[in-house]
Structure formats: structure tokens, C-alpha cells
Amino acid sequence: MSQANAHSHDHGHHDQESLKQFGFWLFMITDVILFATLFATFVVLRGNTASGPIGAELIEMNGIIVSTFILLTSSFTSGLALLSMNKGDKKGLILWLAVSALLGLSFIYLEVNEFIHLVHEGANIGTSAYWSAFFTLVGTHGLHVSIGIVWMTAIIFQIARRGITPVTKRKVNIISLYWHFLDAVWIFVFSIVYLMEVM
């Protein structure tokens, strides 16, 4: 009886974990729509600078390239975290997750600095439709990254306490999925918001 119980217990959990992963994929589809709407808004409004400053005048491309590099690296390190997890290496997993979170944090730091710089130069969210769309799109991505950092930290604590279990495994899988996704979104932000503006 107890054996049957344990068996079905594992079975139940296994189902739950794969369901949650599938659910998260669907959530990401909705997030894609969310970002697509913001991108569409940005593209429609990009010309509407209302005789205020335009992006090309104020954007500092060097900083953006550095943050892009940082975010791409963090995506790579979160991949390394997965590898460690699959090898059963708890320490490595925690280490690489922490590195990813820290890289994320520095990305956010640079972004906040960029925003402060722009505001000082006279471009805030109320300056014109262009800047409204700019700050909202870039800021929404930043908000996603920030939430990811908090979430990743929470997962690190859980792994430290509980080790690599089916549940924590699923959580790491999902956060790394999310992290790669944000990376992909950033590539679009980088090309559409920044690159096309300065080119």
C-alpha cells in the first residue's frame, strides 16, 4: 500500500511539473503578444517627437552595447546553471544562477543610469509620444528582468535548502526559459529601438 502510495505520489508530482512547464510556455506566448503590442506602438509613434529631442541625439550606443553583452552573457551563464543541475552539481547550479542574477542586476543598473542620463538631457516619458513609447517599451523589458532577478534569488534559496528535486528542477528550468526569452526580447529592443535609431 505504502509502495503504491509512493509510486502514485511521484507520478502525481511528475505530471504537475510537466504541466507547469507547458503552462509557462503558454504564458510566454502571451508575453510575446504583450511585447509585440508595445513594439507596434513604438514603431507607430517613433516619428512623433513633437519637435522635442530625437533618440539619435541622446542615445549613447556604447553603454547599450555593453548592457547587451552583459545580458547575453547572463543568458549563457543561466545555461551553464542548467548543465550543472543536470549533472546533479548543486553548488555549480547555485553559483551560475547567482552569476546570472548578478549580471542581470548590472544590466538593470546600466539601464537605470541610461534613463537618468536621458532625463537629464531633457527626455522623459512626457516629452513626446516617441519618448513615451521608448521608456515604456525599454522599461517594461527592464521590469521583466527585475522580476526575474527577485525570482531567481528566491529559487537559489530554495535550492540551497532543498537541493535538486523534481520541483526545484522544474523551477530552474522555467526561470532559465524566462531568462532566455528576455534575452530574445532584448535583441529586438536592441535592433528596433537602438540600432535602427542611430543608423
Binding site: 503504491a4 502510495n5 502514485s8 505520489h9 502525481g12 504537475q16 504541466l19 507547469k20 507547458f22 503552462g23 503558454l26 504564458f27 506566448i29 502571451t30 508575453d31 503578444i33 504583450l34 503590442t37 508595445l38 506602438t41 507607430v44 509613434l45 516619428g47 512623433n48 517627437t49 513633437a50 522635442g52 516619458i125 512626457g126 516629452t127 513626446s128 509620444a129 516617441y130 513615451s132 513609447a133 521608456f135 515604456t136 527577485v150 525570482w151 528566491a154 529559487i155 534559496f157 530554495q158 532543498r162 520541483v167 523551477k171
Partner: protein
Amino acid sequence: MFETIKEFASEFFVTGDPMILGAQVSIALAMVAIVFVLTYFKKWRWLWSEWLTSVDHKKIGIMYIICSILMLFRGGVDALLMRVQLAAPELEFLHADHYNQIFTTHGVIMILFMAMPLMFGLFNIIVPLQIGARDVAFPFLNSFSFWMFFAGAMLFNLSFVIGGSPDAGWLAYPPLSELTGSPGVGQDFYIWGIQISGVGSLASGINFVVTILKMRAPGMKLMKMPMFSWSVLASSVTIMFAFPILTVTLFLLFLDRYVGAHFFTVDAGGNPMMYLNLIWMWGHPEVYIVVLPAFGIFSEVVATFSKKKIFGYKSMVFALMSISFFSFFTWAHHFFTMGSGANVNAFFAVTTMIIAIPTGVKVFNWLFTMYRGKLSFPTPMMWAVAFIPCFVVGGMTGVMLSVAPADFQFHNSYFLIAHFHQVLIGGVVFGYFAGLYYWWPKMFGFKLHEGLGKWAFWFWNIGFYVCFMPQYALGLMGMTRRFNEYNFDMGWQPLNVVSTIGAFLMGIAFIFQVWQIAHSIRFMKKENTGDNWGQGRTLEWSIPSPAPFYNFARTPKVVAQDDWWEKQQRRERGEADPAEVIAADNAPLEPIHMPKNSGIPIIMSGFWFIAGFGFVWDWTWMVVLGLVGVAVSMLARSFNYNDDYYVQADEIERIEAAAARGAN
């Protein structure tokens, strides 16, 4: 000091209008009464542990339905007030600003806080039972969805007594809905009420897609799935693709109002036309989100009461999915008159007409399900049959509106009003009523009184035609929607009076329904037989009514499209079940894995409510408090690993035996 408080209070509370004062007093009295009753009968703990924290899909569904009936009452009263105001020319029953608030809240409440929760209520109760699952895929998220809906609905309704209701129309077109056009907090209540409940809807959409795709009983191939579940899948997929657009749109409008952004303003490069595009890119699919499940319900009801398989199953599935797909390519027909040019208008006119094709096919398939059937007419079937001519007319006028150059004459007129009420009442409301009557015994273990139900049916139907047929005519007379008054010389009065009478007939119908429910709770016989109509076709009828909390004692094995019906047929013919079915039916009871109740969803939604209220009033401390509360709740959930338990086999056996006794 006193003066400041007085000044604040007069801005904070809606004052001055005796009608509102009366409503405030009655709301306050009702709340005191509820608190008193709960305390007196010591029901607080029961309420909390059995309902508010429940993750049981059936209980969540019932809570959705209760809320939606209350909202139907509120939205209905709004409608009656409007009809009274329009019954005579230059009537001074409601002031213009009051009228504007009422038509705004009527629209928002009926679509988002009446139709949506009624829909989710039926999704919740029926889908897991119909596909042979123990619960939805994510019970915790499901509870969260409900409480987010509840928080949003309460925030929106609160504007009635605090701060003032929104009054820029149900879709709040800018620049009217911008700070310049609507400086009051009503518009902020609108944004946050819808935003918060919208998050819940989005989560529900994901939840049901996963539930349907991943949790069907063994043997239930997609193409053996009941039509209602198919329609829920179509609707949920549509939710997934449409609701993020709403979230963004409202968020941008919020930024315009809150931090002075310029998305939809007329100055600094903003573009109000973009709002129209965005809101209808959600708004049009939204209409199909609510009507597709109604189609599913009709398919179930018509098949059941014709004692016949649904005709053209594959066509029906294909039609559902193609409607869901095309619904995303028609949004611009809501503003043919915005000057987008002939190319754009021609494109959207044609895409809109295309939707009529699968919809028409569905009507034929329902008709031919009845053809060569054995039709009986209990109330659910009456609603289904009444739906067909009503929806055909509504669909036809929809086609008329899709003819872009003709729409220049229909747009913004009562013709349009009559059309969308005809598809929303004739399609959605009739459909959900059919579903409610059909599955009521499954939810509660007793049927609703048929006689009172028939009275309600006739009042609804006659009232509907009396109310809305004249409005088509009024539209052709040039009567514009949202007018709070009109001149004597237009000759609009007679038809407006007729229309008002119709509205009151529907009001009477609602009273009959409330009476019917009250009467049935008191007097209708409990019948725990699973198959209350005696001719059920799908899995939900194979288990006791109401379903035990774990739904299925043994996971069923499905072999046919209408599995339960086929099983009964085999029994009647004296045939044996297939071996796999026998094996599944006689398998030893195993412990069932169940989710634990949780207070986090209601608490987290409470914090969302607090944050939303803070945003409305621009109180930063409150916003921070709310959002921190949300974050802490989420972390609490993440760190909680103790969220499930097992029902042991002997307990299941006891419950099943009790149900079997009740049935005999």
C-alpha cells in the same frame, strides 16, 4: 481640520443625488446584514475554509456564477434606468452626466463582470468533469483568477459610491478618456478595475488550454472531445492572444493619465487612433471569446435533447477554430468611418463577412442535429431553440453592418445597438442560460423549477424582441447611441416607449429567475443520480450530482465520442463494455492526489485591490503597500512546498457508497 475632512469626504464619496444616496444606504445595510448573519451563525470560519480559500474548481465556478448574477442585476438596473430616461423626449429623469456614467458602467459590467464570470463559472464547473479530470491544471492559479476578477469587479463597482463612476463609454476612447477630457477618478477606476480582472482572465485562459490539452481522460482523443470543451479551448486560445493587448492598451492609457505620457493624447505627437485600433484588436476577439462557449453549450444541449449525435462534428470543430482565428482580423470594422481609405475598409469588410460562413454552418449543423432526432423541450432546450432564429437575425444584421459603405449610415446609431444586443443576448445570454439550466442539477443535485423557468423564458424572449426590434428602426430614423435626450419633433418617442416596455419585460423575467432559484432551493427534490436528464451524453453525467470534490473515484476510460451515452446504449442493448472499460471501471480505488486550499490567492488579490485603489487616488504609500503585499504573497507561494495531499481509498469508498445510497 473639520473643514478639510468635509472637503475630502465630499470629493471622496459620491454625494448629492438622492438615488445614489439610497443605493449607498442599501449597500451599507446589506453589508451590515451579511456581517451580522455570518457572525450570528458563526459561519466565518466555514466561509473562509470551505469557500474563500477553496481551490476546488466546482466551488470556484459557483462563486463566479453568484457574482455574475449579482452583476447582471447591477447592469440590468443600469439598463432600466437608461430606458426610463429615453421613454419620453426631453425627460429630466437622469442628468446628462449621470446618464453617461450609467451607459458606461452598463457596458463594462455586462461584458466584463457579467458575461465573463458566467462564462468562467461554466468553464470551471463543467470542463474538468467533461474531460474526466480531477481538477483544472492549476487549481491555485484558478483561485487566483477568480479573486483577481472579484477584486477588479469590486474596484470598478466601488466607483459608484466613492469618487464617481467612469463616463467615457465602455471602451473609453481618447482623447475623451484622457485627463483633459475626464479629469475625475472614474476613469482610473475603469482602468484598474478592468486591468486587475483582466489579469485573472488571462490566467484562466492559459489554465484551461493546459487543462484541455493535457488532462483529458485516457482514450479521449481531441476529436472525441465534447463540443463544449472544444469551444472552451477555442475561447481560451482567443483569450491568450487577445488579453495581453488589452493589458498593454489600458496600461498605456494609465501612463498617459498618471505620469503624463503621450500615447493617445492629441498633443506632443500622441495618436488617439492607435487606441481605437488597439482596443478593438482585443475588443473584437473578446466578443467571440464570450460567444464561442455559448456555441459549445448549444451543441451539448441540442444533441442531448434530440437524443442524437451532434451533426457534422468535424465541421463544428473546424468552424469554432476558424471563427477564433478570423476574429483577430476584423477589428477595423468598428471604425470604418475613421477615414482609413477604401483599401483598408474593403479588406476589413470582407474579413468580417468571412466569419459569417463558419457561423452559418454551425446553425445548419444544429438544425440537422435535431433532424431525425427525438426532441424534448425542457428549459435548456427552449433556450437553445429560441437562440437559433434570434442569432440568425443578429448575424444577418451583423453582415449588414459589415458592408462598409452602408455602415457609414449604421455606425453609432441604434441599429448598431440593436445588433450587438441581439447577438450578445440572443447568443451569449441565451446560451449561458441554457447551460445554467442544463448543468444546474450537476452543480447542486436538484433541477430548477420548470414552470417558473418557462415564465422567465417567455418574458425574456418577448421582452427581448419588444425591446430591441424597435431599436433597429430607431437607428434607421437617425437616432444616435448615447443620446441622453432627444427632441419631440424627431418622432422617436413611440418606438422608444415600446423599447422601454420590452426592457421591463426582461426585468420581470429576471425576477422570475431569482424566484425560480429561491423556490427550487427550497422545494425541488434532491436527485443524486448522476444523469439528471436521463439522456446525458458526456462524462459529467457519469458521476454523482453534485460531483464529489475529487470528481472521479476512478479515472474513466473513454472509448467513444459521447462516451456516457454509448455506454448506456450498450447496456440497453445488453452488450458488454470493451475489456479496457471494464478494467478501468473495476480497478481498485487508489489514493487521489489533491491540491490543498490556500489563502494566498484571496490575500494577493486583496493587495492588488489596495494597489489599484492607491493608483486611482494617486496615493503612493497605498500603491507601495499593495505592490509589496503582492510581491510577498508571490514569494510566500514560491516557498510553500506543502500544497497537496492525498484522499485515501477508504474515504473515497465511503463517499461513493453514500452517493450511491442517495441515488436510490
